[in-house]
Symmetry: C2
C-alpha cells in the first residue's frame, strides 16, 4: 500500500471556482453562461408577443409577493401571481372560471409567468448546501453594491395556436423547443414555437435564480446566458397506479407540479385494476360504488377534468389506462357475470398477484359493458388526451378455464378471441379520436395484431423494444429493471412461518431498489438501429402502488422521475463529449433540482448527504478506483 499526500483538496477547490453550479435540469441541448450577476426585480417588464403580461386581476402592476402568515409545512402555498390559493384551489378556480376551450395561449402563458415568478420569489432557496461549507459568500453577489437588474423578459411565440388552444397532441405533433437568452445588460428573451415551449422555457428561467441569504433579493450568477433547447424524446412520462392504492387529487396535482419542473410531459394514470375501481362512471355508478375501496376513494368527473386541465396548463398531457382483459377483477363486485376468476385461489394459477379477475373473452355482455363505458368516459377525456391505454399485461391463460363459455387455456383457442376483443375496443377508441396504447404482451406474447398507430408500452426490457421496433411498432419504454420506482422495498405479501426459510429475506419480485444512479444509466434506444430508435417515442417511469401510498408517493417518485426525465429530454449521451452522461456531472445539478422541488412543495428524497452536496464538483463523494 502506498501513502501519497494528495493534491485533491486543492484540485477540488480549483474546479469549484471554475464551475460552481451547473444549474439546469434536465440539461439543455446547448447552454453557455457567464459569471455576471443580475437581480430580478418585482417591476420586471414582461411581454408576450409584444403585449404586456398583466399578472394581477385587480391591478396591472406586479405586486411584491407576501407569503401568507399562516403558512403550512416547510413551504407554504406562496405567491402564485394570478392566484392567492393553493395549487389545488387555484386549479379549481380556473376550472370554474374558464372552460378549457376558451383558454387562450395568452392566458396559459400568463399563468405560467405567474407561476415562474412565484417559484423565483416565494418558493426559492438559499443555496448554502450546494456550496463549500462557509463559502456561500463567494458564490453570492454582494447585495449592497452595484446591483444590476434584469429589465425585461420578452416572450415570443412564433406559431399561432389552434382555435382550441389546449389541443392534446400525439408524440411529436407539437414543438417543445425554446430558446432563452439573458444578456449581461439584463434583457431576457424567450422564443418558442408553441405555448408548451414557452412553458418549458419559463421553467428553465426559474432555474437560473437563487434567493440571496439576506432574504429579500433574488439573483442569477450566470449572465450572460444563451440556451437552445428541445427534447430528444417526445414522450416523457410517469405511470401512476391509483387503483391498488388510491391517490387523492391533491397528490396527483403535486405530481404534475414536479413533472412540469422536470419537463416531463405525460402522466399515465393507471386508474383501475383488480384491487379497486376508483373511477366514477356517470352511466354506471355501481362500478365505483362497489369497486372503490371506500366512497371517499373515488374520482368524480370533475376530479378527472381538473387533473387533466391542471396538467394541460403545465404542458403535461394526462391520459388514462383501464387495464384489460386481465387486471379488471374489481368490476366483478358490480358486474360479476362478465368477470372470471375473481379472487381465485391459489392466485398463482390465475394471475400475477391477488386478487385475480379478467373479462370473459367471448361474451357479448363484456362488449355491452365496454360500449357503455367508452361512451361515458372517452368524450370526457378527449379534450385533454390524445391517447387511451387499454392495458393488456399479464393476462393468464388459466382464467379462461373457469369461463363457462370457453373452458380452455389453449393459446390457439384464446388468441383469436383476444384478437377480436382488442380489435373491437381499439376501434371504438379510435372512433372517439383517441390513439390506443397497449402493453407489450398483446403483440409479443399473444401475437395479436395491433395497428401501426397503436403505441406499445414495454416493461420486459431491451429485447422487447428491439422486437417491436423492428416490426415497425411505436414504443414507449418502462424497463422494469431500471424504471420501476416502487421496486426493492420488500414483499407486500404475508408469508406463513412454513414459507419462512424459502422466502427470507422477503424480497419483492423486482428487487433491488432502483437508485437514481441506476435509473440514470438506462438508455431506451441502446443497441437499436437508427430506424428502430426512431420508433421509440420515449419512456415512462412506473409507480405501482402495492407498497406505496400518498405519504410515501413524493419520496418514491422524486428525484428519480426527474432523472429518467433528463435521459428522455437531454439524451443519455452528452453531445459535448459523445459519451454517456456521468454521475459526477449529474449529482450536483440533481441536488439543486431537488432543493427547488422541495421549495415548491414536492417532497423529494435527497440525492446524497450535505457533505456531498457541499462539493459542487461531486468529487468529494466519488468512488475512487484503487
Amino acid at each position: 500500500m502506498v501513502f501519497t499526500p494528495s493534491l485533491r483538496l486543492l484540485a477540488v477547490s480549483l474546479v469549484a471556482l471554475l464551475d460552481p453550479v451547473s444549474a439546469i435540469w434536465p440539461a439543455p441541448q446547448s447552454f453557455t453562461k457567464g459569471n455576471s450577476s443580475l437581480y430580478l426585480h418585482q417591476n420586471l417588464k414582461i411581454t408576450y408577443n409584444g403585449e404586456p403580461v398583466r399578472l394581477s386581476t385587480s391591478s396591472s402592476s406586479f405586486s411584491f409577493p407576501h407569503p401568507p402568515n399562516n403558512v403550512c409545512g416547510p413551504v407554504g402555498p406562496g405567491y402564485e401571481g394570478l392566484f392567492t390559493k393553493t395549487p389545488a384551489q387555484q386549479q379549481l378556480a380556473y376550472t370554474a372560471d374558464y372552460p378549457a376551450s376558451s383558454l387562450s395561449s395568452k392566458e396559459i402563458v400568463t399563468a405560467g409567468v405567474s407561476r415562474a415568478l412565484g417559484s423565483i420569489f416565494s418558493k426559492n432557496f438559499v443555496p448554502w448546501m450546494l456550496q463549500p461549507r462557509g463559502k456561500l459568500s463567494q458564490f453570492e453577489p454582494d447585495v449592497y453594491k452595484g446591483q444590476k437588474w434584469i429589465k425585461s423578459l420578452e416572450i415570443v411565440q412564433t406559431t399561432k395556436d389552434a382555435n382550441t388552444t389546449i389541443k392534446p397532441a400525439l408524440a411529436g405533433e407539437v414543438s417543445e423547443e425554446y430558446n432563452l437568452t439573458l444578456s449581461a445588460e439584463g434583457d431576457a428573451k424567450l422564443t418558442a414555437d408553441s405555448y408548451i415551449g414557452v412553458l418549458h422555457g419559463l421553467e428553465t428561467f426559474t432555474q437560473l435564480f437563487f434567493q440571496h441569504s439576506t432574504g429579500t433579493s433574488w439573483y442569477t450568477p450566470y449572465a450572460p446566458v444563451e440556451i437552445k433547447d428541445k427534447p430528444k424524446f417526445p414522450h416523457r412520462g410517469i405511470l401512476l397506479d391509483v387503483a391498488r392504492t388510491f391517490m387523492p387529487v391533491k397528490n396527483i396535482l403535486r405530481t404534475i407540479d414536479g413533472m412540469a419542473a422536470s419537463k416531463l410531459n405525460r402522466l399515465h394514470v393507471h386508474v383501475t385494476d383488480s384491487q379497486s375501481w376508483p373511477l366514477q362512471i356517470i352511466s354506471m355508478p355501481e362500478v365505483a360504488e362497489k369497486g372503490a375501496y371506500h366512497p371517499t376513494q373515488t374520482y368524480s368527473p370533475a376530479d378527472i377534468e381538473n387533473i387533466q386541465k391542471y396538467g394541460a396548463l403545465r404542458g403535461v398531457q394526462v391520459y388514462f389506462e383501464i387495464d384489460m382483459p386481465g387486471h379488471i377483477g374489481s368490476v366483478s363486485l358490480s358486474h360479476p357475470d362478465i368477470i372470471v376468476a375473481y379472487n381465485e385461489w391459489p392466485y398463482q394459477w390465475y394471475c400475477a398477484e391477488p386478487p385475480c379477475g379478467a373479462f370473459k373473452l367471448n361474451d357479448t355482455k363484456v362488449d355491452d359493458f365496454l360500449g357503455k363505458l367508452w361512451d361515458d368516459l372517452l368524450p370526457r377525456v378527449t379534450p385533454y388526451s390524445a391517447y387511451f391505454h387499454t392495458g393488456g399485461d399479464e393476462l393468464n391463460r388459466n382464467d379462461s378455464m373457469l369461463d363457462e363459455g370457453i373452458k380452455s387455456n389453449d393459446t390457439e383457442v384464446l388468441r383469436p378471441l383476444l384478437q377480436k376483443f382488442v380489435d373491437k375496443q381499439h376501434e371504438r377508441i379510435r372512433k372517439q379520436g383517441l390513439t390506443p396504447l397497449t402493453w407489450e404482451e398483446i403483440p409479443l406474447e399473444w401475437n395479436v395484431d395491433v395497428g401501426k398507430d397503436v403505441v406499445v408500452q414495454t416493461w420486459l426490457g431491451p429485447d422487447s423494444v428491439k422486437n417491436l421496433t423492428s416490426k415497425g411498432h411505436k414504443v414507449i419504454d418502462s424497463n422494469y429493471n431500471f424504471w420501476y420506482l416502487d421496486c426493492g422495498r420488500g414483499q407486500w405479501l404475508n408469508f406463513d412461518n412454513a414459507a419462512y426459510a424459502a422466502f427470507s429475506p422477503f424480497l419483492d419480485w423486482c428487487n433491488p431498489y432502483k437508485g437514481w444512479r441506476h435509473v440514470y444509466s438506462h438508455d431506451p434506444v441502446a443497441n437499436l438501429t437508427e430506424e428502430e430508435a426512431k420508433l421509440v417515442l420515449g419512456g415512462e417511469v412506473a409507480v405501482w402502488a402495492e407498497s406505496i401510498d400518498p405519504i410515501t408517493l413524493d419520496t418514491i417518485i422524486w428525484p428519480r422521475a426527474s432523472v429518467a426525465g433528463e435521459v428522455l429530454w437531454s439524451g443519455r449521451i452528452d453531445p459535448a463529449t459523445g459519451q454517456n452522461r456521468t454521475q459526477l456531472d449529474a449529482a450536483p445539478r440533481l441536488s439543486e433540482l431537488r432543493e427547488r422541488l422541495v421549495a415548491r412543495g414536492v417532497q423529494s428524497s435527497s440525492v446524497y448527504m450535505t457533505w456531498c452536496t457541499q462539493d459542487p464538483t461531486g468529487k468529494s463523494c466519488e468512488y475512487p478506483l484503487v
Copy 2:
C-alpha cells in the same frame, strides 16, 4: 394443474367475524378482550392515586376538543389537554415553566393522560381501511341506540418515585410493567409500579379506541378488556444519525412521538461524525461553528435539553454518542492538530467512507480537548441520561501511519494506545455518573478490555452477540442484516463511467432494503444459552443518514422501528403458541398502528395496499404455498 373451487372467501369471512381487529401493538404479554362496545365521554372521571386528574389549567373539567380551524396537513396539532400548542411548542412551554427536577409524577402522568385523550379524541381515525369493503357498519356499534359509556379511569402507581422524578435509569432499573382492565360496565383501571409503566398503559388505552364514522363519537368494541403487560427487553431503541444529515429538533421530537406510541424507550443520537459536528459546545464554540454544515444546522444546549426532556416526559431516555477515535474528522475543521487523515484520499485506505478523520491516539492535546468536552457536555445530559456512547466502530489502522507521533499501522503498537484512550475516556464518563456504551470493534476487533459495566453495541451479527455475551458483556444488538433501516436504497457515492461496469446497478454496501417482514424475523437472542441471553439488554434499529433527510426520515423509520419494537417488547416467540410470531398475525395489527401513527402526525410508510388491509385476517394477501 388442479382447479378446485375454493371455500376461501367464506373461510376469510368467518375468521373475520371471530377476530375482527387484534388491536394492540406491540402485543401485550397477556390480553383478553370481549365484544361489547363502550364509548368514551368528555366528562370521564380520571383519578391518579385517588386524586382527580385536572386536565386544564383554566378549568377543572375536561372540555370538549375543538380542533383549530386552520389545521395544517392531513392531521392538525389537535387537542393536547393541558396544551393548545404543537408538540414542539408544548415541550418548549413545559421546559420554560417547569425545571426538570421539579416535575412530579402527577404532573408527568397528567400530561400523559392529556396526550392520551388527545390521541383518542383529536388524532384518531375511522377504521374503514381495516374492515372488509363496505362492512364497517358491522364493526362499528350503532351510535343511535343504547350507548354505554366508560365512567371512570382509575390510575394507580404502586411505588413512589424518587425525589427527582425524572431519574434516568439503566436498563431494567425501572419497572415498565402495567395492568389495564376495562369492565363491561365501563370502569377502567390502570395499575403500574412506575410513572413509565403508567405512560405505557395509557398508550395501550388509546389503542382500544376508534373514531366513529358519524364523526363525534369514540368507542372501543373490545370490552371487557384485561391486559397484563411488561417488556421482554429493557433496552428498545432507535439509533438516529444527525451528523451526516442534520435533523431539525422538530423531526427528533416527532420521532419520540412515534417511539412513545410503540413503547420504544431509548433514543440513541449519533450526534457527531466526520461529515459534520452539529453539537454546540459552550466552552468551545469553534467546534460547531466550523464543524457544522451551516449555522442553522446546530443543536444549542437548550435544544439538547428540550429533546431529552421531551423524551423523558414520554418514557424515552435520550442519550448521545460522540463516535471516537474514528468518525471524528469534523473536529479537524476547528482543531486540525488533534486529527489525522482528515479527508485523505483514496478514502478506502483510511476509513469506511469519506471524509476520513480520527483522533491521534497518543497525543495529550486530544486528552485536553476531550476533558474540556466532557466537563462541558456531560453535566448537561446527566439529568436525563444514564448512558453515554463513545463509539469506537470502524477505526482504520492506517490512520496512524499519518500520525507523526506513531507512524505505524501495526496492531501491536496501536492496541495499547487504544486501551489507554478508552480507559481514560470511560473513566471520565463514569465519574459523571454515566455508564459508557461502545461499539463491538473495541473489545472484539481490537481486544481492548472494557469494564463489565460497559454496554457493547453489536452490528456485525449473531457471532458477535454470542462472543460478547459468552465473555460476560452486556449487549445491545443492531444487526445490520436486519435492523439497519437506511439500507438498500442505492449507492450514495458517485461512480465515474470507468467504474460503471463493475458497480452497476449501484447497490449500497448493506443492500437489500430491510422490509418490515424481514425486520420482524430477527431475534436478538436466537441461538444463545439462557445465561448469554440474559446479557442481551435489547436492541436498536439504526437510521444512518448518508441517504436520508428530514423529508424521508419518518417513512424510513416507521413502521419498521415499531416492528423491531414488538420483537423487543413482546418477544419474537408468541407465548401462546411457542412459535415465532407470524406475519399473518402481525400485518393487520401493524396496519392499525400505522393508521394511528399517521393520525398523530408521524408520516409512516404503509404496511401494504388497501386491498390487503381490508382483510383483517391478512389472508387475502398471504402467499399460498402451491
